[in-house]
Structures are given as C-alpha cells and as structure tokens.
Symmetry: C2
Subunit: 460 residues, 2 copies
Amino acid sequence: MSLFEELQQLLAPDRVTRNQTILEQHSKDESWHEPCVPDVVVYPINTNEVSEIVKLADKYNTVIVPFGLGSSLEGSIIPYHKGITIDFSYMNKILEVREEDFLVRVQPGVTRLQLNKELKKHGLFFSVDPGADATLGGMTATNASGTTSVKYGVMRDQVRDLEVVLADGSIIHTGNLAAKSSSGYHLNGLFVGSEGTLGCFTELTLKVYGIPEYIMAARASFESINHAVDAVTAILQAGIPVARVELVDEKSIKQINLFSETDYQEVPTIFLEFHGNEAGLKQDVDFMREIVEDFHCKSMEFETETASRNRLWEARHHTAYAFIHGFPGKKQMTTDVCLPISELAEAIKDARDAIEGTGLPGGIVGHVGDSNFHTLLMIDVHHPEDIEKASLVNQRIVNYALAKGGTCTGEHGVGIGKQKYQEKEHGEAIHVLRKIKSAFDPGGVLNPGKVVTEVSEKSL
Amino acid sequence: MSLFEELQQLLAPDRVTRNQTILEQHSKDESWHEPCVPDVVVYPINTNEVSEIVKLADKYNTVIVPFGLGSSLEGSIIPYHKGITIDFSYMNKILEVREEDFLVRVQPGVTRLQLNKELKKHGLFFSVDPGADATLGGMTATNASGTTSVKYGVMRDQVRDLEVVLADGSIIHTGNLAAKSSSGYHLNGLFVGSEGTLGCFTELTLKVYGIPEYIMAARASFESINHAVDAVTAILQAGIPVARVELVDEKSIKQINLFSETDYQEVPTIFLEFHGNEAGLKQDVDFMREIVEDFHCKSMEFETETASRNRLWEARHHTAYAFIHGFPGKKQMTTDVCLPISELAEAIKDARDAIEGTGLPGGIVGHVGDSNFHTLLMIDVHHPEDIEKASLVNQRIVNYALAKGGTCTGEHGVGIGKQKYQEKEHGEAIHVLRKIKSAFDPGGVLNPGKVVTEVSEKSL
C-alpha cells in the first residue's frame, strides 16, 4: 500500500485529499513568503488519528505540518518539505466550559471568535486577540498575542494544559488544571510557540476571564507619532492599569477609514481601553487625561457604548486587511519587534525613517503597552526590488531591536521569515534550542525547517 | 592535583572549604529531609568561576549542587550524591535597576528583602514573597510564589532573562528584555523551576512593579473554615481583583499570636489585600463586604496604616516559623498541593480530616487565591511513626489533588519530597522530562536525583 492508501484506510477517503485546489489552499499563509504545496492534506477528527498519521509519516520517511486556518505571518505552515499537512478544521469542538474555574477545554481547530461567542453565554471571555480570527491551536503554536496582552498576558500565559502528539506518536499532557505548579519541567511554556516542531496539539485547556463590570474605550489623537509614543510611556510609568493601548499612525488610520468606513481623524492616534469598576475607572481616566495633555494631545473621544467600542476594536483588528484591500495585487511584509519600553520611541522613529526611505506604501501600528510594534509594508512580490527594500527594512528594524535587548518577533513567531535572526538573537543558546529539537524530534518529522534549523545565515 | 587543590587554585583558598561546620550548614534545608554533607563548599564571585567549577566537577567525575540560603522545603539542595556545593552568597549584587522598564538585573544570591529595600528608593517593588527571605536564585530554581501571585503571578512570570552555566560550562542567556517574545523555544520557562538540574543561574533579569497608589488590607474571621473558603471562592467568582487572599486556620492563628505577639481572634481567618486607586478600591471593598456577609463572617478589621499592614503580612509570612518555634525539637512536614478552585473547599475538608486523624500538631494555611494550600505538620524525626503518619497525610492530600486535576506542588518544588509523585502526576510526559534532563546534562553532573530520576516508585 502507498502512504495515500494507508491514510485513506486510517481516516475516511473523503478526509484525505490530493485535490489541487485544496493543496494550494494549504500552500500559503497570509504572508509574502513563497507558497509550496504539500503532497496530501488530511482532516483527522480525534487524537488517535493524529497519532497514527504521525506514525505513518515516520514510516514513509515523510514529514507533517499542522495547519489551523493559515493566518500565520511568517510562513510557519508552508510545507517546504512537502509531506502531509494535517488540517484541524474538523477538530473544532468546545469540549468543556468550567465556569467556576475560569477554564475551557477545546480542540485546536476552534477559533477565537467561535470561543468568545460561546463564552459570552457564561459571562466570560478569552483575552488573546490577534488581528485574524485564528484557530486556538495556531495561536498556541506561535505564542500569539494582541491588543489585550498588556493586561491579560500572551497566549503562553493562558495555557494550563495541552494534549500533544509527539514525533513517535505517543500522547502526553503538558500541564494540569491548577493555577500554578512547581512540578517537573515547564512543558506548557516549551510547547507554546514551538510552531508544530515539537509536537501536534490535539486538545487545549485555557484560562478565561469574567467580562469586566465596566469598560471604557478612548481614542486620543496627537500632533506627531513621537508625542503619541511618549504619552503612552508616561501612562505606563504612572502605573495606570490599561487593558489595551494601541498606537496607529496616520497612514494606518487612513487605510482604516477607507476599509472600515470610519471617520477617525487622520493623525497619529492611541486607542485605549480600561477594564474595572466604574469608580476606579473614572479616577484612572481622569489621571490619564492629565498625562496626555502634557504631550500635545489634540483631542480625546470616549466610546462607552458597546457598539462603538466594538467598531473601534474591529477597525484596529482589520488594519492589516485594510492595507491588503487598499493595494490589490500586493502582498504584505510585516515586522514584529518588541523591545524595552525605554527604547520604544527611538525605535519607532528609526523604523519610520527606514520605511520612508523605501517609498513603499505602509504604516506603523503597535501594541505599545508591550512595546511591540509592526510596520506593514505593501510589496509586489514579482518585483525583486520591492522584496529587497522590504527585507532591508526588516533587517534594520530587527538589528535595532536586538541591539537594545529586544526580540525579532514579539508575537508572529519565527516560521521561515525570522529564521535568519535566530543565531544573532539567541547567541550560544541556539545550540540549546537545536538540542531540544533533536531530543523531541530526532527524525525531523515535525514541521522541519521552522524555528530552528542546522544551517542559518551567520552574517546579517 | 586533587579537585580540592584545583578549586583552591581557581578561586581563592578562603573560598573553598571542607570545614565541618560549614559542610553541615550545607547538608540540610528547612525541611524534615535527612541531611547529607557535601565534599566541599565553594563561594564563586562571578560567572566564569561558576563555569570553571562545573567543568572541574565533570573532570573529576563528581557533581554540583547550587545553594542559595537553604530555605527550600523539599530537600532540593541536599547533596545526597556529595560533590561540590556552590554557595552563591558572594554573588549578591543588584547590578542594575531599569526604572523606566520596570526591570532589575541581579546576581542569584540577592534576597527578596534585600532587593525590595533597594527598589523602595525607586518607588518599585518585587512581588514574589515566599515565607523565607530566600535568594532570588533559589526562588527561580523552585518557581517560588507566595501571597501576591493571585495578582502578580509566580516567579516564572517575573523572569525575563537568565544567565545560565550549562553542564559543559558554556554560558547562555535564556531570554531578553522585551515584555514578550515568540522567538525560539521558551527557555526562561524551562529553567525556572528546574532546581539546578539543567544549569546554574548566574544572573537574573526580573520584572518589578510600581508601588500601588493605594493599598488596603483586611482580616475577615469566620465561624468555620468551610465558610471562609466558600467566601474566598465567591470573591474570586465575582471578579473582585484581590492582590492577596490568604486562608489561615484557627490553629495557625493561635501559633501566630504566640510567635508574633498579635491578638488576632483565634478562628478561621482570611487575610486580604487590595491594590489600586482609592475610588476603585472602595467600590471593590464594599462589594467584598456584601459577599462575605453571606458566608457568616463574624468580623472584619481593616488595616490601612502601613505599619499595621506590615505587621499583618509579617505575621502571615512567619506562620511556618511560628509552628517550628512552638514545638522545639520537632521538624515540619509541609504539603503543597494546588488544584482547581471548584475543588478547593472539599480538598481542605479532606485535608483537615487527614490531619486530625494523626493527632499530630499542625495547621492549614493557604494561598487560596491560587487554590494552593499547605498543611504544616510538626513531627519528631526520631519517631518513625510520626514520619509514617505525616507521609500518609501527604500522600492522601496529593492523591486527592491529582485526582481532581491538580498538582503535587504549587510552589515548593519537587526536590526529593515530591519525587515519588512525578510519574503519577505527569503520566507519559515523565519520559519527556527525562529526555530533557538527558539532553541538558548527559553526564548527570547537575544536582542529580532531583526533579526527575530514572527510578521512581510506581505504586503509591
């Protein structure tokens, strides 16, 4: 029997496909990285099937790539070594809501909006919110974050337990249901962000939160991006507990207005949100207002109604799509550095200079509460000079961040796009990262070529 | 040359010792576990010396055990394989306070009170507060926590970067200064809680916090421990953002009163603290007051003055010592389970039954905001029946927690005391833990016999 036949026997014929359209759907993510089709796409419905698929990959000396919705931004799910792409679409059940324990147990194919729709019935919400309506399995694989991590933390902070299929097909649990543990090595943390290179997630137990009693959102607009960043730094220094604080530059606001039909003033803007009780929030907001006035805040608009708040955050979440929509035929290259807050203002200044030097359309948005910002550059992948220019911008921004104690990727992951910065960022620890990969996946079956590889560019 | 001579040459003669008194000081921690002296104790003053010591251990086919202040509770630092104990007392410098970034860089021998004394000058504090004035290196090694983790998180949440000497003497950094990162595998998380079995920490970069604008502490006393636990559960369910919430049973209050010269009512009590702005806190406290009344709260006392608040928390931190002081000649055996909050009330009921059955003196205290509780049992280690009784209590409490999705250790670590529960707790993942240990320390040089071993009791 061939691998294809064995897979068909293991699953059902309609859950194993070589249909060209489907292969192409699994050949790319939302990035500019070159597509590559897998040999076959499979749709398991349970953990045992995933385990058997991994064993078959090993038997036939091929590889597997786990696939959520393909919304990654660094090529994490592109199967450059071909093989089997495991699509988790059919493993999309919310298995348990433990309301009292603020925990949910889900399959990896559940998306964040799907989960939040269910949680709302219980007065709960899941906090991590990347721009895309990604799957929770994919978000765990890249240690995703978003606008709320300044208060609630990143994906890694939400994971209590993972069920994982390892390279040999064995099935483990990485954690438990307790709020903390000092037992054994911290496997949760190790698997979150491993991009399918150490195992395949088949079940996730995640922390959720009560919907806050009172929520207030605001937009503050500034004369310059520097004033805006300085205002954010001052707000954080003052210890005002923001739940969200997002920077959007004037070019991004313009694209947002075009795409989301909003009429926000096209100047550098901070989107903010506060969660708490009414009395506490009023005091926080008054304090915040005093601070931003020192930084030439032009105007401040509050959104207390749920509908206008939702519109605000939906507009923010769609910024990347707003650019893609605004420049048909072009692809987006996104930078993703994160660095200490004291270095943020200068880093953003340098990034703006870098972008403006290229003449490429693009903007800057940032989860500035975490000192993580993105430049969104629109490029024509058929024009090598566009790729070259954007790559140089990426390199300059990454090198700047690394020199200041930062990281090349705050939330998008390494994939292949940030591969070449790994040695520079991790130094001697790169050998430890490789040792871990070898210990978990000696045969190189699991998403090879991602996160760590044996070969990488020494000189940047 | 002998190992001893080589060590003397490497360091200075006065920083290498076989003095019997000093060996004995390094033979034990604060637990009941049997002491064992090392062959030699060394006091390095920098990272390179630590690296060379590890290389010498390997050369002479002996082992190393890193040692902070010996305040561990599970025998983590007892050198049962003899060898070299590395005492970090001389590596106790606060290297940098990055006020704007809410970060500090310290050597591993700095203690939490030493750090907080320095941070106070900057309007900052370090949040993690185990009972002992432990070293930050030791707290990182066991993933310590304490009364504030319900709001600020555990030790693992504070670590941004570690400088680590590995088994081969090489020196790595595990992280960076950014608030979040998706680059490479999460080495910070892996090393925190590794109890010296994967490497020796030589420098730590930790997150610190601004001292809150307003702090309010309270003691609420209840008719029964069940009412107290139910009240805490209700407070957490209601989403009231407590900074601390500690359960202390009537027997522990009695010991506290004797030791700390307080006159707290000797009934089951909840110690609480709230951090925030004045208006917000008042609203939270009013809401909390309404809730506790539903659970037969007998009285509630507020401590707003700094001195009385400090007395309250000092008394709480000294609970374990209060018992030790109260029962001269006896040792303490402490349990440390953590489980989902929905299971806490029943777990504490069962633990009380277990203790009372033994007739041993002891009490229950708990970081109930995390659903982590301790039973403190006083035993005479010369009476095998005391050890047997206490072991059975530990076993019953651990088995209860594991059956409910909890962990055998919430914050004290595995050491040797929780070794025998590792297979039961981690299931198939135990093989992964062993694989990690082998990948990092193939020669078994680093604190052997702790966290994971090849042999462990299958039947409990």
